[in-house]
Subunit: 175 residues, 8 copies
């Protein structure tokens, strides 16, 4: 395991979770936050999972993002091993569409919280990690405020476009 | 930790789960199956949980019964540490009435199963443990068949009573 | 009906369940466990179902795996006829996506348990059957431990690949 | 088993279901329909259940009402043994409040229907049985129409009372 | 409206329900039961719905099958207008996949039952209608028994095929 | 039926719904809006229900509030008979706690809407009725704005009290 | 922002909601009701949302239709800012298929109602807006009654077609 | 509003949420973290809510904890006004037992996350706030580790007690 410092550890239970978890990484990239990504299963590689948590602690990680589907134990198992805040991403998978993962992640017992975001909410996991870091790193806060402003402008631009085109035409152009 | 042999380990995440888990113990007592009961949380005492699994393996346990409520990770975390069959009991607790625990226990990913019984199904966890042991221990099988016969007779007796009393009277006597 | 011995009976309510139930068979094949597969419906062929259970008992089956969708009564009906442990596989089918099957299988009344695995959890049914047999057959236990080790190595290899490629490239190669 | 004729068999899986099933009996009593009530479990006494179905067929039963809770297999198991129409009553019990029983009863596979009524809908099971019999027994139809008229009058009387008292006073008198 | 007699009225709320309701009709055709099919909405054509019920009563219908999706009021509205038994078919439609229709149909208040079958259970609505008619029409009962026997033979044939081919080959041939 | 004019008709399916529906009436009283309350069931008294709708139309009602539990058809049945806006109140009743009523009321098909409020949302039905009337009756709008202001002041006062007492003391005083 | 008067404001949280919200606009167009459509997010542009509500009030809007998916706060946030009646349209989006949006919109606390329609019920939002306006604008009422009549005729025509073709042929022609 | 600095703002929508939110406060007290508690509704006092967020920002708050029941918009509305991390506590209230609040809080759209904890998870909101602060305040981290150790010891002590007493006796002493 490397010894390079990183601010956020992104841990996923399976590589099938990667497209969602990459949304978190893209936010961190955009906000100049360093991170390292890992694949480790709470059930298939419990010891490796513990090592990754140790790696994260030793390399200065201040937030951990963990995503898993089905009986999604990974975020809770990680939260049990550290007091670094753990953000849990329930992944939509299998017959229950992620409701199982949501309940497995959010309903943690008293004392060991997981900060849960929406099902498949990879992007928001990245944003929440940044918001947590922003208290310490003013530059992250500035980036976040700029990102918010940009998102607001996007909405405003769409509203202007709607006022110009009307709904029928707008819908046509979306297709 | 003791070195006395036992056939079944009963592990619960909190002592509030005990009234349900005791239903399993009562079945094992009735069927002359030895067991040892533990309290250990997947999240508050992850290392202790691993030690208990080791204790169970070393002392010859052939089945593990694990019960937990809410984001019930305990059965799955144990199943990740051993190939002894793990029976999971979702405990009814909190706002979701045990649906969260059911999903957290039954929806295990491929490779690491937990044999899940009904919400608050402590008794059935005991019976299932006995059925697993029965292949190896003919006396357990005999006990089980006797227990089944007894349960059938109870139903028959109630049906006879109903035929004699009629429903209205039967209901009165139940109160 | 044949008189060849087998360790596991796999019973499905309909041939539409076969792709899922075959996942169980593949595990048993990989672990050198003998099995026989049957199609029999709890509702369309109740007597045949009873005969299959008898066949299983007479031919030495030590575990029964039963899968069904919708109002999935098959596993419970079988469990009522034998004390051999019954593993239930809820099949995703119809408008409720397998939640109906899950509830119909897992919520068995006291005294007659079904060891329930995840919706469409055919593979885990096979693994659980093997874990039950492993107490009696040390070679099965060895196979299981090897399978677990292999699964852990797969995760580790993917994690190494991720460390080398990064997420963006890894995702591209997955497509 | 007796040889007296009856029009409806009422079968319940446990005597804890009796208060709900008695609502069906009360309707049948009120409509002068003969019935016989049984306790028999799909799982604890599968053979007895089959005998009761045979008894019902031999004694001329034209409708069967079956009630059960949890993984409520009883109505479906009975429906598999006869072509007499089976009315299923999901009983509210356990952590899932009867949703498990509803799904286990209503989601029957093609070919073997169960006529399902509301959770704890014992009264409606009796009414539905009567409606089925009414095609053959004009007197039952008359009784049913009278019962409907009576129920309508009850509503009308309450509406008159409300017009006289106003809501505030009506509520006071209800307490 | 015609004056030809028919045994069953099939009423659907929208022509989009027809593929499911036609499954009921196919069963009735196969069992030589006469029926007439109608489209009428509880909400868009409430008076027409009442006329159809009257038409059904006058032309001797002994069972009504009603199917609807979403807030599926049609079966209950019809049941309020007649004491002919009404079979309700919840249609899978919209965002809730038919759970809304199931609850709207099955949870009828005391006094006005609807005999509910599975979501999209058109075929079972036909079978249940036939079972209700069978008490009066021995030929229908014979047909039903033959249909059951045929369904059982289909299962047996598939089981034989499975015994011959094995699962892997059987699955290949299914594709 | 009377010929006095009223602005709102309040219709409930059963007098057991009255405590919730009275919350609507209390709002209307407080805002000086005239109303008349009725009990009429969509299923037990369908004709009376139609008469009440006619009465409402003839006596100038501009909004109808309808509440029902279980398979709550009343609001939709009323909406089918008039173009006066219908506000539906799902009543919590039975095993499903009002989810059945919510789905039966809100999931109306295209063309016939019901303006649905929260489960047991009697008060909000009254407020919504007032908001609908406010466009035409400026005095109602003034009353509504005053009611809103009062509600805001209540919150502010509680916040002041909290600032003075602290949470521990505030909780004690609440008991 | 413009100063042209309009009767209805249609506000959506994202342009991905537009195909559904356009169904409302189409109804308003058909009924000659003036409206203006806006895109504004409760979360990304909270101030703009408040400005739009002000714009609506100043330009005479008498109804607001607001649609949103996921944690659909937009309708409730708008309802908090005005006493104009707000119609909420839960949009089907994400893993929970719109159940999250339905609950977020319909379960408003006492005092601040949102008139909720079905998931993706854009058309009914338009119809409900028209029904609210109809009390004040007799021409809208006439349009509504004509639209209802037309919808009823469509059903009747389909029923006639079914009587002529039979189900099998009708289904063929639908494809 | 005061000008005293505080690290955490606790905001609840209603004083009925206070017993749950006080669990968060108790954790903060135990860990020597300063906080200020507010009552403000997203719907009844939207402007006050915005002022409180401003107050929190100006007085140095680094985390906001917001709790609400039903259509629980408060946490999301606050998250829209600041980039300070917002922890959302779904409160169990009303007919849906907090599932509505959970979905309304956790399913936030991309860009504006709320860190969601369990239904009624007030204690975990406090712990999560402390974990977020711990990166900047080493003393908080020490406190957290001590609290974890204490919680683990509690579990161990209970396990020792269980080993001494056995389940039957332990249960008796719990009562």
């Amino acid at each position: 395991v490397s010894s390079e410092k990183y601010q956020v550890a992104i841990i996923m239970g399976s590589d099938s979770d990667m497209p969602i978890m990459n949304e978190a990484a893209k936010v961190l990239d955009a906000l100049d936050i360093s991170y390292r990504a890992f694949i480790s299963s709470a059930h298939r590689t419990p010891k490796k999972t513990a090592c990754i948590v140790q790696d994260a602690e030793q390399n200065g990680a201040e937030v951990i993002i963990a995503g898993a589907g089905l009986a999604a134990h990974l975020p809770g198992v990680i939260a049990a091993l550290t007091v670094i805040p753990v953000i849990g991403v329930p992944i939509k998978a299998g017959a229950l569409n992620g409701v199982d993962a949501l309940y497995s992640i959010v309903q943690m017992p008293p004392g060991i919280p997981v900060a849960t975001v929406a099902i498949n909410g990879g992007k928001n996991a990245g944003v929440l990690a940044a918001q947590i870091l922003a208290a310490k790193y003013p530059v992250v806060k500035e980036h976040l405020l700029r990102m918010r402003k940009k998102a607001a402008e996007d909405v405003v631009n769409k509203d202007v476009k709607l006022a110009q085109l009307g709904m029928a035409q707008y819908i046509k152009e979306m297709q």
